[in-house]
């Protein structure tokens, strides 16, 4: 039973989510369509279960850093900062959630989020520009035929994509567009098709209970 019930849950939920978008009309007897079951019940349920999972995962974070602070492990100050900012943001966000129309609450939360979390996030994302420069410098060497193909394609497209490319050579933009529209479409399409089939088979094995590693042992 410990194994069968989860497999049954996965199967039933999977089938309903599968039929939801592709069928219309009521299921005989139930007087409801798959679509309605998904939108009235299953989708909101997922949102709620996911919300509980966030709590579970956060306990791990809190326990780990809590123990670093308690044991005064090197760098524990940072762990303390993590715990404090986590608790602070949790409380602030809960108040914001429960009083969504109070302008002061909304403004305060907007201020802390926009000036702390958002810039940290934006800056981290922006580091990519630096990394793309160092990675391309390091990796794009004509060491082999394969590497040369990669290198030449990347350079043509880089120059074709920026307005300056057209100033260097008239044909960079059109060459870039051709590479993007023809060989790139072919390569991508094949990779997408292959990966889709792989993903399909993986999902199918799970749906039919042929793959149960995620359920663990007993």
């Amino acid at each position: 039973m410990r194994r069968e019930i989860p497999l049954l849950i996965t199967f039933l939920v999977g089938i309903i989510f599968l039929f939801g978008p592709i069928t219309t009309g009521n299921i005989p007897v139930l007087e409801m369509s798959f679509r309605q079951i998904v939108s009235t019940y299953l989708s909101p349920w997922t949102t709620i279960i996911t919300a509980f999972a966030i709590g579970l995962a956060s306990i791990n974070l809190l326990r780990l850093h809590g123990s670093y602070v308690a044991r005064k492990r090197s760098g524990w100050i940072n762990s303390a900062a993590l715990v404090i900012s986590m608790l602070f943001f949790t409380v602030a966000r809960i108040i914001r959630e429960l009083r969504p129309t109070d302008p002061e609450v909304v403004a305060f939360y907007g201020r802390i989020f926009d000036n702390i979390a958002a810039p940290l996030s934006g800056a981290m994302f922006a580091i990519l520009a630096f990394y793309i420069a160092s990675a391309s410098y390091r990796a794009f060497r004509a060491r082999s035929l394969e590497a040369s193909v990669l290198l030449v394609a990347a350079i043509i497209v880089m120059l074709g994509a920026a307005p300056v490319g057209a100033l260097i050579w008239d044909y960079f933009p059109s060459l870039q567009r051709w590479l993007l529209a023809v060989p790139n479409t072919a390569g991508q399409r094949a990779i997408i098709i292959g990966a889709a089939i792989g993903g399909f088979a993986t999902s199918l094995r799970i749906l039919f209970g042929l793959e149960r590693g995620y359920l663990g042992g007993d």
Binding site: F52, A92, P119, E146, W178, L179, A181
Partner: protein, 212 residues
């Protein structure tokens, strides 16, 4: 130059610079910012989760008598059974539910939108004429490349047949085409990544330093 006098703008600028300092070297300032970052966004997510439970579960349950919302609440609580020795198996029910959601949602769409419809899009004229009936060499070439390009790259992804003889050659050609594709993708992305950095630099230049 018109440097900001708002404390919040300075906090924002400090956050950006603390993260940027990492590219020089991992350092105590980055470490502090990193921990605050993880903590604050985790807190944000927990708060949102509480909000979601309240809005999508508690409110309909208590005001509209939608009793079925007890089910996800119970499933959600069952996740925590993993902390009770001997009852870990209980937490597999909600996991099974979530897995079922993902599997059901991806099954048809991945096969249909990503495999079948992409295959269909590759069923194109191999010999192209314009409306007046004139043969178009460049479009014909493009279409040949599209159709056979897809076929040779797919050959690379055949796993259960040993790749030797002509099959090996085709699959090698597939690899080259993929490398070309990767080069194109990489080159094309550089622009987007630079614009993100530009965004951050211009925030610093406008809102903090007031240079532009």
């Amino acid at each position: 130059m018109n440097i900001s006098t708002s404390i919040w703008t300075w906090v924002m600028a400090a956050c950006i610079l603390a993260i940027f300092s990492f590219i020089y070297k991992e350092n105590p300032i980055y470490r502090f910012a990193e921990h605050v970052f993880v903590g604050s966004t985790a807190g944000h997510a927990i708060g949102m989760a509480v909000g979601n439970i309240h809005r999508f579960g508690w409110v309909p349950l208590t005001t509209k008598n939608e009793w079925h919302f007890i089910i996800p609440a119970i499933l959600g609580l069952m996740l925590y059974a993993r902390f009770i020795k001997g009852y870990t198996w209980v937490s597999r029910w909600p996991i099974a539910y979530l897995v079922g959601n993902g599997v059901g949602l991806s099954l048809f769409t991945s096969l249909n939108s990503q495999a079948i419809l992409q295959a269909r899009a590759t069923m194109i004229d191999l010999i192209v004429h314009d409306k007046a009936g004139k043969f178009l060499l460049n479009r014909t070439f493009d279409n040949f490349l599209l159709v056979f390009g897809v076929l040779i790259v797919l050959t690379y992804f055949i796993f259960s047949i040993p790749q030797n003889g002509p099959m090996r050659k085709v699959s090698q050609a597939g690899r080259w085409l993929m490398m070309l594709t990767f080069g194109v993708s990489f080159g094309n992305v550089v622009a987007g990544r630079i614009s993100l950095l530009l965004g951050q630099i211009s925030i610093l230049l406008t809102r903090w330093l007031g240079v532009i």
